[in-house]
């Protein structure tokens, strides 16, 4: 691995933090907050893009690592990719929220100060998400994950209804509890390592790969169990998922998109940094992660099928999809990690799109029960088309982003000869497509429901500022479906940088 010092790296999280301070302390109106938000996220997105371009390794070359502050911050291509995803989703969510939250303020669901807090928390979240991706100290990584969690828990409670507050409390409690398991895992590694090197004073994420081979099997498996509990909870993996459906359904639609698209990605990211390093050395880890991943895939979609609430259906579908990501990364093979990371990106785009579409329906009609909806395609044709694109991608249909990523994970299972997992993913994949297309049909193409008919004057397309993120995400989903190679250099470098940590 080649290491270089970068001055760019520390700058990225400071831009949204400065914007957050401006939003919190400045006497800003709505327009001021929106400008601050754009200036807080778009430059970071550009910097993330530049970082990714810089870090993509030429074929056959050594993976490059950028460091700053004496190695306290570091970025490989995986970090850079995640930074890009973070600012892409946060920028989309923020722009979508300009109209959505204003509408909620007008309806009295959110106060003016609540709106200010909303943008402040969104910016703080993006800054700490970036820290999560670039900090090298394992304990500091847990710390910034907790701060990001606090920001998200306040965002979930934006409406301050009973269920929103309980969902926020539950999310906060479970994720922090899970992070304590991560702390225990790190403590076990450190305690063992100090017997080998008494001068050790911290665990560097990049050194984890070297440490895992020095651990006794029973201790290694205990550590893996701690990390699975921790990052499984953060990522919404079965059976640690109980916070996810409540938080998704009680949060404002843009925040649901943020949760499903981005917040859960921290789980797989942490998984790639920890558990994936154990997989090549301990076959038990591969079996355990494949089991949990497949349970998540199957149970998640079975639960999704019986939901009548559109946002809850999408939330359970997230539990199912995240199973592919975890199982792929947990395999620890090139193909598995590649597929897992690829699916994390494609799912992020498609699920954010679907939640934006659900938000568009709530924005216009205030209805989220599927049985109360129907025949909306005539009134909201662009939303209908975007929703359908998202469904087909999550369903894994060819020419949509979800197909190549899911297919890669299935191929990775076949390569590892985990045939039962191939069977489960094939079965669950069919169910996913059926469930989502059926939901899309009932919402947009079914017979117009009496409630929609009663609200007919309100049923029309959402404002342009909400439409732009939806159309952009839909375009990205189609583009990645027909041209999946676009992400190949980045993902390939990312996988190679992870495998280099375990000496492969």
């Amino acid at each position: 691995m080649t290491t270089e010092t970068s001055l760019l790296l520390p700058l990225i999280p400071f831009i949204p933090l400065l914007a957050a301070l401006f939003v919190a302390l400045g006497e800003t109106d709505d327009a001021g907050r929106q400008v601050a938000f754009v200036f807080g996220t778009v430059p970071s997105l550009v910097l993330g893009g530049l970082l990714t371009v810089r870090l993509v390794t030429p074929r056959g070359g050594q993976p490059l690592i950028l460091t700053a502050w004496g190695g306290f911050l570091y970025a490989d291509v995986l970090s850079a990719l995640m930074i890009c995803c973070t600012y892409l989703v946060v920028a989309s969510v923020g722009i979508y929220s300009f109209a959505y939250i204003r509408h909620d303020v007008e309806r009295g669901l959110v106060t003016e100060s609540g709106s200010r807090l909303y943008y402040f928390l969104l910016l703080v979240f993006s800054a700490f998400m970036t820290w999560t991706m670039i900090v090298s100290h394992l304990f500091f990584m847990f710390l910034v994950i907790e701060i990001a969690t606090i920001a998200v828990s306040f965002l979930v409670a934006t409406y301050k209804t009973k269920y929103a507050l309980i969902a926020s409390f539950k999310y906060n409690l479970l994720v922090v509890m899970a992070m304590l398991f991560a702390v225990m895992g790190a403590v076990l590694i450190f305690a063992r390592m100090t017997t080998v090197d008494p001068t050790l004073s911290r665990i560097h994420v990049l050194e984890m790969g070297k440490l895992v081979t020095l651990l006794p099997v029973s201790l290694a498996l205990t550590i893996v169990a701690c990390f699975i509990c921790a990052f499984g909870t953060k990522g919404g993996l079965m059976p640690f998922h109980s916070w996810l459906p409540d938080a998704h359904s009680e949060a404002p639609a843009p925040i649901s998109a943020l949760l499903s698209g981005l917040v859960i990605v921290v789980g797989p990211f942490g998984f790639a940094r920890t558990v994936a390093l154990f997989s090549p050395h301990y076959t038990q880890v591969v079996v355990l992660v494949a089991l949990l991943g497949c349970a998540s895939i199957a149970v998640g979609i079975l639960m999704a099928i019986v939901q009548d609430d559109l946002k809850r259906l999408l939330a359970y579908s997230t539990i199912s999809q995240v199973g592919y990501v975890f199982a792929g990364i947990g395999l620890g093979t090139y193909l598995g990690i590649y597929g897992g990371l690829f699916h994390a990106v494609t799912h992020l785009l498609a699920k954010a799109l679907l939640f934006f579409c659900a938000g568009a329906i709530i924005y216009r009609l205030g209805i989220r029960r599927i049985s109360d909806l129907g025949g909306l395609s005539r009134k909201m044709p662009i939303t209908a088309a975007c929703f359908f694109v998202g469904c087909l991608s999550i369903g894994g249909l060819p020419f949509f982003a979800g197909f190549p990523s899911k297919y890669t994970v299935v191929l990775a299972f076949a390569q590892a000869r985990v045939w039962w997992a191939v069977a489960v993913t094939a079965f669950a994949g069919t169910l996913t497509l059926a469930a989502l297309v059926w939901a899309a049909h009932r919402v947009f193409w079914g017979e117009e429901s009496p409630r929609v008919a009663a609200l007919a004057p309100a049923a029309r397309e959402v404002p342009l500022v909400m439409m732009v993120p939806m159309i952009s995400l839909a375009a990205a989903v189609v583009l990645l479906g027909v041209w999946p190679q676009a992400l190949y250099p980045v993902l390939d470098s990312g996988v190679r940088s992870i495998l280099a940590l375990v000496g492969r």
Binding site: D104, L109, H137, F139, F140, F142, L143, E146, I147, T149, I150, S153, F154, A157, Y159, K160, T161, K162, Y163, A164, L165, I166, S168, F169, N172, L173, V176, M177, L180, V183, M184, V187, L188, F190, A191, R192, T194, T195, P198, L200, S201, R202, L219, D246, S249, E250, A251, P252, A253, D309, K311, R312, I362, L365, G366, I367, R368, R369
Partner: protein
């Protein structure tokens, strides 16, 4: 660590566990806060003992931060005592967490005794010869961690859940001190964040719920008629 120091830590660890049990079992929330303060004081003394007997000055910083937490968390506006005075007490308290914990303590002790030997001061690293000797203080730290988990899984009162999380955190840090006393960096910041951020956020949510629904018991809140799940942001409740 000498036998004298280890014995002192053991007594303090046991006291921390007993005070944690009282903090959870007491129905009056203000009293529960004071039991938590007693529990935290034991933790401070444990860190000081370790700092002195293990000759690790960094643990004085830990003890100092724990002292700050012991003052901030219960006594600052928005903290435990402030919240305890503003939300209804835990009328439906059960003895379930403590009963499960008692069984866990017995089972863990039997399990450890059947595979290895419980010692006050293990020779070398605590993790090196787990199959031969296990430190009682390590077991105490792990049991405190386990008690926190049991409380989080069995309690329904939001205030008690916040205390359960703090107990679990204390267990994790106690285990950390037993196993790797040199691993100090950043952990103290993490402790402060948990106190400043997470617990205050949880207590804020508990207060808001109690103000509006006159209870902070999650099972009662969910059973109460009114808003339906998923009504947030929608035009209609159902």
């Amino acid at each position: 660590m000498t036998a004298e120091g280890a014995l002192l830590v053991f007594v303090l660890s046991l006291s921390a566990i007993v005070f944690a049990v009282f903090a959870i079992e007491t129905r009056a929330l203000v009293k529960s806060t004071y039991w938590y303060v007693a529990h935290s004081c034991c933790l401070i003394l444990i860190y000081v003992t370790y700092a002195i007997y293990a000759n690790n000055p960094y643990l004085f910083i830990w003890a100092g931060l724990c002292g700050v937490n012991t003052w901030i968390l219960p006594f600052l506006v928005g903290g435990l005592r402030y919240t305890a005075k503003r939300i209804p007490s835990d009328d439906r308290a059960t003895r379930l967490p403590t009963a499960i914990f008692a069984v866990t303590v017995v089972a863990a002790t039997i399990a450890v005794r059947s595979y290895s030997r419980l010692t006050l001061v293990p020779p070398g690293s605590p993790l090196e010869h787990l199959d031969q000797e296990v430190s009682v203080n390590l077991l105490a730290g792990l049991l405190l961690f386990a008690y926190g988990i049991i409380v989080l899984l069995t309690q329904r009162h939001l205030f008690k859940l916040a205390i359960g999380l703090l107990v679990m955190t204390a267990g994790a840090h106690l285990t950390l001190v037993q196993m790797a006393p040199g691993f100090f960096t950043m952990v103290e910041i993490e402790v402060l964040t948990k106190v400043m951020g997470t617990v205050f956020a949880m207590l804020y949510a508990a207060r808001l719920l109690a103000e509006r629904f006159l209870t902070a018991d999650a099972s009662l809140l969910l059973a109460e008629p009114g808003e339906s799940p998923g009504s947030a942001g929608g035009r209609t409740a159902s």
